[in-house]
């Protein structure tokens, strides 16, 4: 599902990053760990097509996204990649339900409202759909952001510190949900984190230094 080769990147006027080659098949989980500043988020943004690598190849399905234009990357991301962040963000002016319709709208991929309620139900947040994002607890927000990430049934799920802001209980639950969702949809799941609580749960690990 995901393979990278010799990916290099540098920010303007800063030292460059050289990333180890990654491989994550459909249904597998890959944990990328490392200290702050070692390029974890940079790597995740490269994988998501938010940043463009200087060199190397990033293949998702059979597409090397380093060769896509900015607009093509936006569309590719909408269709094939689900993103979960450390802190869940939403369009504050829209209800949770409307927020969950966004991926479909932007990815030209329509799904019935039932899909949203079913998924939310499975993640235990169906009761929040009519509320506004600001009215939700952090744990609820993170669950909703998982629903948003998987609703388009992307082949690749990327999670950036998805559990760092959560307490132990929520951390474990959110991890479980991510894993379940990925497994269910046959998606490759890449978790980038410095959260030590996840280390012993995932065998497939890459450490950035």
């Amino acid at each position: 599902m995901l393979t990278t080769e010799n990916v290099q990147f540098h920010y303007k006027g800063a030292k460059g990053f050289q990333f180890p080659d990654l491989h994550c098949a459909a249904g597998e989980i890959l944990l990328v760990t490392g200290q702050s500043g070692c390029g974890k988020t940079t790597l995740l943004h490269l994988l998501a097509g938010i940043l463009t690598a200087d060199k190397g190849a990033i293949r998702i399905h059979d597409t090397d996204i380093t060769g896509l234009s900015s607009a093509e990357k936006d569309q590719f991301r909408a269709k094939n990649i689900g993103l979960v962040y450390q802190k869940a963000h939403f369009l504050a002016a829209l209800s949770v339900m409307d927020n969950l319709k966004l991926p479909g709208w932007l990815g030209h991929h329509s799904y019935p409202a039932k899909t949203i309620t079913d998924l939310s139900d499975r993640l235990g947040v169906a009761h929040t759909l009519k509320k506004y994002p600001a009215q939700l607890s952090i744990g609820e927000q993170q669950r909703i952001s998982i629903v948003r990430a998987v609703i388009n049934q992307p082949g690749l799920l990327l999670a950036d510190e998805p559990t760092s802001a959560l307490d132990d209980q929520n951390c474990f639950e959110v991890y479980q949900l991510l894993r379940e969702m990925a497994a269910q949809q046959g998606a490759a799941l890449v978790i980038v984190t410095h959260d030590g609580r996840l280390k012993d749960k995932i065998e497939n690990r890459v450490h950035l230094s």
Partner: protein
């Protein structure tokens, strides 16, 4: 979904949005009201001016003479001697001269003594009933009939002067014999009667008999021999003390306007005023005020544009992450910029719509409160200048949203997400 996001975002900060819309609405409202009033006043004044090359009346302010004799919005400058004036009107340069005599009113509507030429001049016909033939018979302008509820067959007493509540002439009653068709001119707001009625009204009791007799005489002439209207009055005006208020003069050729005014102004106790000139002078003076108001309104619009800009720009800071999120969900840069531009445009449309409503409300208020004073009714039609105004307002909206839109377009997605 796109418009839903735009709409929800606008009302997420209701105070900011309301302020922007209200400012825009006030500036467009004021400008549109000014445009409507100015344009309609000008066309109104032009149509009322129909075929009147010169106004001859008592000495005084020429503008007052024109306003009072042509537009009936001011008090007359005084009276002139009918005999003296008639001599002047016999000249070969004069094509038509209509005598006017007034001073009374009914419920604020002026009772104008004149001849039927005045009514023909504005292409009016008796829509209901007939034109007057004898003294103390009146025909009503279309508006007067509608507002006062008078109809042919009814009688009323005139009030001395222009005020709605004044001393009434109890000894005489006017009889309504007809209602004129609507002409969209000053005629709609007048009550028209033969000259003789006015004389009869203001005669002293001892002259009463004579006045009535003569009035009947006048009627007789009218019905009987079919004399040309212009000659009608010279025959009846035997009394050298007869007075009228003004003459409306139309010349045969432009030569008249060269010689007659000077002759009248220097050689007689009367004055001649050229309405076109006086009105130009008035519009010039009014124009200064309107220009000032317009400048004021445009500066309010500038401020509202700035307020829209600040509202959108401040929101942009707060929404940086939201916009980044939309990008990360697959929205193109173009769509983000379009989202912000549309917010500006929607604000502008709201402001514009509300502003136009406001100006219509203003017109309605003016019509309600001052319609009979101004003797005109303004209409609500969208005028072409307002389309230009609309384009300007939309431009303000786009301009105010442009910087935020460009910023969204150029946003560094990775940085925004990592912050």
């Amino acid at each position: 979904m796109f418009l839903k996001i735009v709409w929800r975002n606008l009302w997420f900060k209701p105070l900011n949005t309301t302020l922007s819309v209200v400012l825009l609405a006030f500036s467009t409202g004021i400008i549109s009201l000014l445009l409507l009033v100015q344009k309609q006043l000008e066309t109104k004044f032009e149509t009322d001016l129909k075929d009147i090359d010169l106004v001859v009346g008592a000495k005084g302010s020429p503008l007052q003479l024109v306003l009072s004799a042509v537009y009936h919005v001011d008090a007359p400058t005084g009276n002139i001697n009918l005999l003296e004036a008639q001599k002047l009107m016999k000249g070969p340069l004069v094509k038509q001269a209509i005598p006017l005599s007034y001073g009374d009113s009914y419920q604020g509507y002026r009772i104008l003594g004149t001849d039927t030429n005045y009514i023909h001049k504005y292409n009016a016909v008796a829509q209901n009933g007939r034109l007057f033939q004898r003294s103390l018979e009146v025909v009503l302008g279309a508006n007067v009939a509608q507002k006062t509820g008078l109809a042919p067959g009814k009688t009323f007493k005139g009030t001395h002067g222009e005020a709605a509540e004044g001393e009434t002439h109890d000894e005489h009653e006017y009889e309504v014999v007809g209602v004129l068709s609507s002409t969209n001119t000053i005629l709609d707001n007048l009550i028209v009667t033969p000259l003789a009625s006015v004389w009869e009204m203001h005669e002293h009791p001892e002259e009463h008999e004579e006045g009535t007799a003569e009035a009947h005489d006048h009627g007789h002439h009218h019905e009987g021999d079919g004399h040309d209207h212009e000659h009608e009055h010279e025959e009846e005006a035997i009394d050298s003390t007869r007075e009228i208020t003004a003459y409306l003069v139309k010349f045969r050729s432009p030569m008249g306007i060269m010689s007659l005014p000077r002759m009248i102004n220097s050689g007689t106790t009367m004055q001649a005023a050229v309405p076109a000139l006086e009105m130009n002078r008035l519009f010039h003076l009014m124009g200064l005020g309107i220009t000032t108001l317009r400048l004021l309104a445009f500066s309010i619009m500038l401020i509202s544009g700035f307020s829209v800009f600040i509202a959108l720009y401040n929101r942009l800071k707060e929404r940086k992450y939201e916009l980044a999120l939309l990008r990360s969900l697959g929205s193109s840069r173009f769509r983000l910029a379009a989202l912000l531009l549309t917010e500006g445009i929607v604000l502008a449309i709201l402001g514009l719509g509300l502003g136009l409503l406001l100006s219509r409300f203003g017109i309605w208020m003016i019509n309600e409160q001052a319609g009979s004073d101004l003797r005109l009714t303004l209409t609500n039609h969208l005028i072409s200048e307002e389309l230009v105004l609309g384009a300007i307002v939309l431009g303000v909206g786009v301009l105010a949203a442009l910087v935020p839109a460009i910023k969204a377009w150029r946003m560094n997605l990775s940085e925004a997400l990592a912050s």
